[in-house]
């Protein structure tokens, strides 16, 4: 029966406790969902009806009426009668009592054992955990059903014994889930902080760990309850457990099986009631899992492109890439939320252009929009991105796919995750070489080796056979760069290419990028939060803040004499130029999140120069001495505005 294996297999998915704000409300959130409510209502109904069976049942469950056998539902017998003329409804109600009590027993035993073992092993670790893992591995290979049969063969017909045995046999699988969840919580830094504060283990387990594993535990309990009901019915279907004429759902099905050629209807009532009960437990488990994993399935309003009105004429430009007035929106709870507004950006052939800004300023999504790789629901809602005479913002999927790799390529932040773990470095590059150039095997191979050599592997054959996990971060990033070069792109977008690397490795990768740019006459759009990297690498740069490009221009001039208070503040925040131990000139306040941007200047709330004028209306971009521009009304109060 897969119900039980399912609960074990689901372990991987439930093992991680969610980052829900109030996970102790898992039940409450589950009840807020219609499906959860229906499931709980059905189960509650079953429990109440079974408990009140003596009151509710129209007949005694064993009362035979040989004049009315195998009848279909009627007024006297709402669900018909069986081969001995016994009332099916009454038997169902009485049968439910046995089944539910049995299931409760299995759940009680199983969860008690699993919770204790899983919490101890997960929290304390060490030899306790090793012993636990070993034991669980062994126990999981015990075939549950035949072992239950063996128990029944030895002990005789005792369903209680079978259910206790069931609880014990499935406990290891559940304990492993509990251990996984506990381990995940235990590795959270707040547990370390609590230990450092001198809180006793008991307090930490009860107050910090238990509430966070409650979600997965409830899921498992729910799945186990369904599995136990199924097993209970199955065993009594086989004639084990309560002896006829005492009714159980299982033996009702087996009695029905004897007369399927005469009255197939009899299969329906016990099958449906039992199936719905198991389904309800399963649904409850699913809903609980969803809420405790906090997969936000709230329907978000997707963004749609708005037809651009006016300004259709695109000025002929020598730029390779030219973005005009680009606005990007992502799905929000009520309406789409704008994350980039009115962005203008140009990249000339062979030029290295920087896009700099802090977390959430919109720089990464801007880069992705160029390749048509926006996340689901996000869209360029206004403006144009022209590349080679094509507007990438409105281009078809086929056009974009055709451009990717051959005209525009991209490398990403984390080299550890940007390679396919089951494919070797060489195959990664070769696949792209074949895709972009084709040719014989030997030619593809030769070109692959050439590319690997060009990104700094003197002996490419050695690297080509390695899998990603055998490469260091710096090596993996070089392989990723080789992949991006395979189609000889005119523009390479590098999104924080060195952020995940150690500083000494960083320098090597940046040097490589600069060499490649020079040797291949390839333009680079370098995205970084690190001013130091932008300053060394780029000719020109765009500074983004809260969805706006606030300042742009040549790096030398802009960073020496900023013309926007944000650029100025960022430069001053860096500790390098400050006196050690003295206060740094910090920018006060925090970045406003998308969706709560002010009408006027987005930086106004944190700016010492801000006036009412700044807050009243959107601030236009002012052109200073080319190529410098700033989105500030008071640029003349800054050094860059006067220069």
């Amino acid at each position: 029966m897969t119900a039980l294996e399912e609960s074990a297999a689901g372990a991987a998915r439930t093992a991680r406790p969610g980052r829900a704000a109030h996970p102790h409300g898992a039940w409450r959130t589950a009840l807020a969902r219609p499906l959860g409510r229906v499931a709980v209502a059905y189960l509650a109904l079953l429990v109440v009806c079974s408990a009140l069976a003596p009151v509710l049942a129209p007949y005694r469950p064993t009362a035979t009426d040989l004049d009315h056998i195998l009848s279909l539902p009627s007024g006297a017998h709402p669900l018909g009668t069986d081969a001995l003329g016994r009332d099916v409804l009454s038997r169902l109600l009485y049968g439910g009592r046995t089944s539910l009590v049995d299931a409760a027993l299995a759940v009680g035993v199983g969860m008690a054992v699993a919770l204790a073992a899983g919490l101890l092993a997960g929290y304390f670790g060490g030899w306790l955990d090793r012993g636990f893992t070993w034991l669980v591995d062994v126990m999981l290979a015990i075939p549950v059903i035949v072992t239950l049969l063996a128990v029944l063969a030895v002990i005789g017909n005792s369903m209680s014994a079978a259910m206790i045995a069931l609880g014990v046999l499935v406990a290891p699988g559940i304990a492993r889930v509990v251990r996984g969840a506990t381990l995940a919580v235990r590795n959270e830094l707040y547990i370390s902080a609590a230990r450092v504060s001198g809180l006793p283990h008991r307090h930490i387990v009860v107050r910090h760990v238990l509430p966070r594993v409650a979600g997965p535990v409830l899921v498992q309990a729910s799945l186990l309850a369904g599995g136990a009901l199924l097993m209970d019915a199955g065993l009594s279907y086989l004639g084990l457990g309560a002896r006829p004429p005492a009714p159980t759902w299982g033996n009702m099905i087996s009695e029905a099986a004897g007369v399927i050629d005469r009255q197939p209807w009899l299969l329906v009532p016990p099958g449906v009631v039992l199936g719905l009960a198991i389904l309800a437990f399963g649904l409850l488990g699913d809903v609980l899992r969803d809420t405790s994993a906090e997969r936000t399935t709230r329907r978000l309003a997707p963004a749609r492109p708005v037809p651009v009105t006016g300004r259709k004429v695109v000025e002929p430009t020598t730029a390779l890439l030219s973005a005009r007035n680009v606005t990007i929106s992502v799905p929000g709870p009520d309406a789409p939320v704008r994350v980039v507004e009115g962005l203008d950006l140009d990249i000339g052939p062979g030029e290295c252009v920087g896009l700099v800004g802090e977390t959430g300023c919109g720089k990464t999504i801007t880069a992705r929009s160029v390749l048509g790789l926006l996340p689901p629901g996000a869209a360029v809602t206004a403006g144009s991105i022209r590349f080679d005479g094509v507007d990438l913002a409105t281009a078809s999927r086929a056009t974009l796919t055709g451009l990717r790799g051959t005209r525009i390529a991209m490398v990403f932040q984390d080299p550890g995750t940007s390679l396919d773990p089951v494919v070797t470095a060489g195959r990664h590059v070769a696949e792209l070489v074949r895709r972009h150039h084709g040719g014989s095997r030997a030619r593809v191979r030769a070109r692959t080796m050439e590319l690997l050599r060009s990104v700094g592997f003197p002996e490419p054959e050695q690297v080509a056979g390695r899998y990603p996990h055998q490469l260091s971060g710096g090596m993996a990033q070089r392989v990723a760069i080789a992949m991006a070069l395979a189609g000889e792109p005119r523009l390479l977008i590098a999104d924080e290419p060195t952020t995940a690397l150690d500083v000494t490795v960083q320098a090597g990768i940046l040097g490589l990028l600069r060499d490649l740019q020079r040797d291949n006459d390839m333009a680079i759009l370098l995205i970084s939060h690190d001013l130091r990297i932008i300053a060394t690498m780029c000719d020109r740069a765009y500074v983004m803040y809260a969805g706006h490009v606030v300042e742009s221009g040549d790096v030398a001039g802009m960073f020496r004499n900023p013309a926007h208070p944000y650029t100025d503040g960022l430069l001053r925040s860096a500790p390098r130029r400050a006196t050690p131990g003295e206060h740094l000139t910090a920018i006060p306040g925090t970045v406003p999140p998308p969706g709560s941007w002010p009408v006027g200047c987005h930086f106004a709330a944190r700016c010492l120069l801000a006036t009412d004028e700044c807050r009243a209306a959107p601030v236009p971009v002012a052109r200073l001495r080319p190529p410098r521009r700033t989105r500030c009304l008071h640029f003349d109060e800054l050094s860059g505005g006067r220069a």
Binding site: T2, A9, A153, I155, Y237, L238, L240, G282, G487
Partner: protein
């Protein structure tokens, strides 16, 4: 790798010992008495003592176990006190029935499950919802009930297929298959949706990873991403699911073989349980355990073969 297999086998052997010993132990600590259960209510003290002696129940449990173990190592799992037949030969006779049922069912489940799973991950809503509904059905409906419904429809109402029984492959593949269709369908219905759901979840997981964006950004077409990259990665967790499915369906035969009156291991286990035939049920438990262990080993090997991280070490 060989060390890993060796250790795994060692643990497995130990497990078989433990499980078989537990059944002996259970017998010793329970108040009931197997001889009495077999004899029923009316028996003479002589018959009782004679049966106990014949079953070896008059000796200490440990002695009984060592005796059993010694024989088991030589392939002798004892003799059924009920039928007087050798347990090992009975099991060997029935094993092919159960294996053909389970192997066929697992293969179909895996094929359909992977197909539906990939569709669900790539095509989105419609297929995904179908898989959800199917998987809830497969999860909730007891397989023996489902089997009875199938029998009612396809054997009783429309007499297309035989309702019960089994013929060996040697009497013709057509006939063999005809007898297997309903039981296999039942098992597939039970397992396929869970399989599809796991495949879909792992495909979705892989497709949302960074390296997929990386491949897309550099011009790898979608078809290649799905079949060459995502499927290979998703295959790793799916192998585990396939193993679990096999084990689940294998256990499911206990019920299915009863419904279809098939002369397999599952049916044997049920018979042995109702007649308190301890040597037989012990033999079945041991064989089941060995098969579970072998499947797990196969899964581990496949896992290592698919996952370079494991393979290299």
């Amino acid at each position: 790798m060989w060390r890993f297999i060796g250790r795994r086998l060692l643990v497995s052997a130990l497990l078989v010992f433990v499980v078989s010993f537990l059944t002996f132990l259970l017998q010793a600590v329970t108040p009931g008495d197997t001889a009495r259960m077999i004899l029923g209510y009316n028996y003479t003290p002589e018959a009782y003592h004679e049966l106990r002696a014949r079953l070896g129940l008059d000796q200490p449990v440990l002695v009984q176990y060592v005796h059993w173990l010694g024989n088991a190592l030589h392939g002798d799992l004892g003799t059924s006190p009920i039928s007087g037949v050798s347990v090992a030969s009975e099991i060997l006779k029935r094993l092919p029935v159960t294996l053909s049922l389970v192997v066929l069912a697992t293969a179909v489940t895996a094929l359909v499950g992977v197909g539906l799973g990939v569709l669900g991950a790539v095509r989105g809503r419609g297929t995904a919802r179908l898989v959800d509904v199917l998987s809830l059905g497969g999860y909730a409906l007891p397989n023996f009930w489902l089997a009875l419904v199938l029998v009612t429809v396809f054997a009783v109402t429309i007499p297309l297929l035989p309702a019960t029984g089994y013929v060996p492959l040697s009497s013709g593949p057509g006939r063999w298959l005809a007898y297997l269709i309903l039981p296999v369908t039942t098992l597939v219905l039970q397992g396929v949706a869970v399989f599809a759901r796991h495949t879909r979840d792992s495909m979705r997981d892989v497709l949302s990873r960074d390296f997929v964006t990386m491949l897309r950004a550099n011009g790898i077409p979608e078809r290649s991403i799905v079949f060459r990259h995502a499927l290979r990665n998703a295959a790793i967790p799916t192998v585990t699911v396939a193993g679990l499915t096999f084990i689940g369906l294998f256990s499911g035969t206990v019920f299915i073989e009863s419904v279809f009156a098939m002369p397999g291991l599952g049916g044997l286990a049920v018979q042995a349980t109702t007649s308190h035939d301890l040597p037989t049920i012990q033999g079945v438990v041991v064989v089941f355990t060995v098969i579970v262990v072998l499947v797990n080993l196969a899964v581990d090997l496949a896992y290592g073969w698919l996952n370079p991280k494991v393979r290299v070490s």
